[in-house]
Amino acid sequence: MLKSLFTRGAMLAVCAVSLLSPALADDAIKIGSFLSATGPASFLGDPELKTLQLYIDKLNAEGGLLGKKVELIHYDDAGDAEKARTFVKRLLDNDKVSLIIGGTTTGTTMAAIPLVERAKIPFISLAGGIDIIDPVKKWVFKTPQTDRMAAAKIMEDMKKRGYTKIALLSETSGFGRSGREQTLKVAPEYGIDIVLDETYGPKDTDMTAQLTKIKNTEGVQAVFVFGFGQGPAIVTKNYAQLGITLPLYQSHGVASNSYIDLAGDAAQGVLISASALLITDDLPADDVQKTVLVNYKKDYETAFKAPVSTFGAYAYDGLMLAVNAIKKAGSTDPSKVRDAIEQTEGYVGATGVVNMSPKDHMGLDLTAFRILEIKDGGWVLIQ
């Protein structure tokens, strides 16, 4: 037994050496990535990783970039910021990548920022938190809309419908916490008063207690839920169970078909702020994003036989921004690539139209969000 354990150990050691040593193909362009492909944020990280792999393979099949192969070096941080920090160090110091795309969550992204800033390597984050790009950090960019934008878009819609008193139910995950903070900040700008501020845990399986409280609070006109994963789906079901008839808003954290599948009939009439990807087929032909979205959706769904999600689209935009910038810079020189990303203008992406500037490292405006309503198990564009 002991002997076999030793052989196993030896094999592992051999594996280790081959895994740890920098890849041999030195002439390839190395793009590093760390995503939460497993763990609580895996349903964000998983499509992100798949998208990166899909399009890098495509790129290579078409002859690569600047005449070189592109190599994706990816590590799974499982949503753990400390793991992410070590993997970023590994990407920077050991794998010597030219650019990093990754950070599924704001927490993992924040852990990476000091390292990329010090290493002076461009970094495109796929996480939502506004703190990532506000204040602007020289080497850090991001592709998803911020949580502040999500809050603003929803508040805008509420204001339009004349709601002034709402209840907020947010998740105690990083996503929900930051979303709550931004909502509390943005609401007064739209003259909206948050009369009840409740939370639920990311692993909670029952939110009827919080919803009962909301139901019994006088004067609430609408409810805004800020969370991702299964939580919002359970909230939606509990909402229907309690027979609450107030309008229910959800954030872009639920922007995938699986939310409708999970919540079932209870999702009828739910309003969300989301990217146009969810309504690709219904988009008017003259919508600027139409072609991009149709192609991405087709590519992804053919390759993985699974419905496309807006999270994968963040990775698509991240990769395209990087590719365009490397092409424009004509090299992988980090500072040239960084400048090129910062100069991105009019890039039509899967999330929105991106116009970066030294003051804006995301480059999206509120048009990147649409208000959708769930009707009969599908998404309908409201505005």
Binding site: T38, S42, T199, Y200, M207, A209, Q210, G229, G264
Partner: protein, 308 residues
């Protein structure tokens, strides 16, 4: 008189809402608490047979829910899928005992804890590879139209959860009281050495208890999946809560585990409703610390003096 009436109506309405609110918290708490109770019972059964805490208990819950979803997905009708899932969980439980716990029977308590933690990581990883990382919903057994009761609402599925939990408790009580194996398990729990001398195969008892608690876990996982959804990693939290329930009740006490589970669920719901939804997860732990400080062996745990 005319001025008094509306006031009366308001107060009555107010207390009516308060009562309905309380009832709602109670329903939610009991539904989720029943799940904790079943998982806690699984902990108690294995603990009784071997003084092992099986930290992979939550994974049985996951296997129950996920396997049912998967079997329905490949086209089996719900009842068959449920049976299949329970069978899979039981086989996993038995294999876990045979392959992982039995070879290390004489190891330290902490070592066994870590072995079962290793097993739970392994099972979770396997589920993730086999069944994916998404969340799934099981269809409710009998629709989603809420039942209204005293101003509060209850899903038909909650009745299933409470009913099945009750049925299991009754069945277990019968099993322990009237079947040979049941009695043997009790005897082993009471005094393993004496049981061994009486000709009871304690090794076999441990084997059976793993199967039994896997069954309980799987059933819990299936009956709550329509309400709470399921995914490859639901076992972590449910396992932890089940352990809390088992300790709250006094480890090794079946009644304790049931009461502990229900209590835990109700405390959580009440804490979320009346205290703070931010701290509702901390409340059960504060309570359990206080209980352990004053009743070092839980609510129903055996109290006695160690013989030296």
């Amino acid at each position: 008189m005319g001025a008094g009436r509306p006031l009366l109506v308001i107060t009555a309405g107010c207390s009516g809402i308060m009562f309905a609110e309380f009832l709602q918290y109670l329903f939610s708490g009991m539904t989720i608490g029943a799940t904790y109770a079943l998982v806690g019972l699984g902990f108690a059964i294995i603990y009784n047979a071997s003084h092992v805490i099986n930290f992979a208990q939550g994974e049985f819950v996951m296997i129950g829910g996920m396997a049912t979803v998967f079997l329905i997905h490949i086209g089996l009708p719900l009842p068959v899928a449920i049976l299949g899932a329970v069978a899979l969980a039981v086989v996993t439980g038995l294999a876990l005992e045979k392959l992982a716990v039995e070879p290390a029977r004489n190891a330290d308590v902490v070592t066994l804890i870590i072995i079962t933690i290793g097993a739970s990581i392994f099972l979770r990883g396997l589920a993730q590879v086999l069944w994916g990382k998404e969340f799934f919903a099981l269809p409710a057994f009998s629709g989603n139209d809420p039942i209204h009761l005293g101003g509060a609402t209850l899903l038909p599925q909650s009745l299933w959860v409470l009913g099945i939990t009750l049925a299991i408790v009754v069945a277990l009580a019968w099993f322990f009281k009237y079947t040979l194996i049941g009695k043997a398990i009790l005897a082993t729990a009471c005094n393993a050495d004496a049981a061994k001398m009486m000709g009871i195969n304690t090794q076999f008892i441990l084997f059976i208890s793993f199967g039994l608690s896997a069954l309980l876990g799987a059933v819990a996982g299936i009956i709550v999946a329509p309400i709470t959804l399921t995914s490859y990693d639901v076992g972590i939290m449910l396992g932890l809560k089940g352990f809390v329930a088992a300790v709250l009740g006094g480890l090794g006490s079946a009644v304790g585990a049931i009461v502990g589970g229900l209590l835990l669920g109700i405390i959580e719901a009440m804490a979320a409703g009346y205290i703070s939804s931010d701290y509702k997860d901390a409340v059960p732990f504060v309570i359990i610390l206080l209980i352990l400080f004053f009743l070092p062996s839980g609510l129903f745990g055996a109290r006695g003096t160690e013989r030296v």
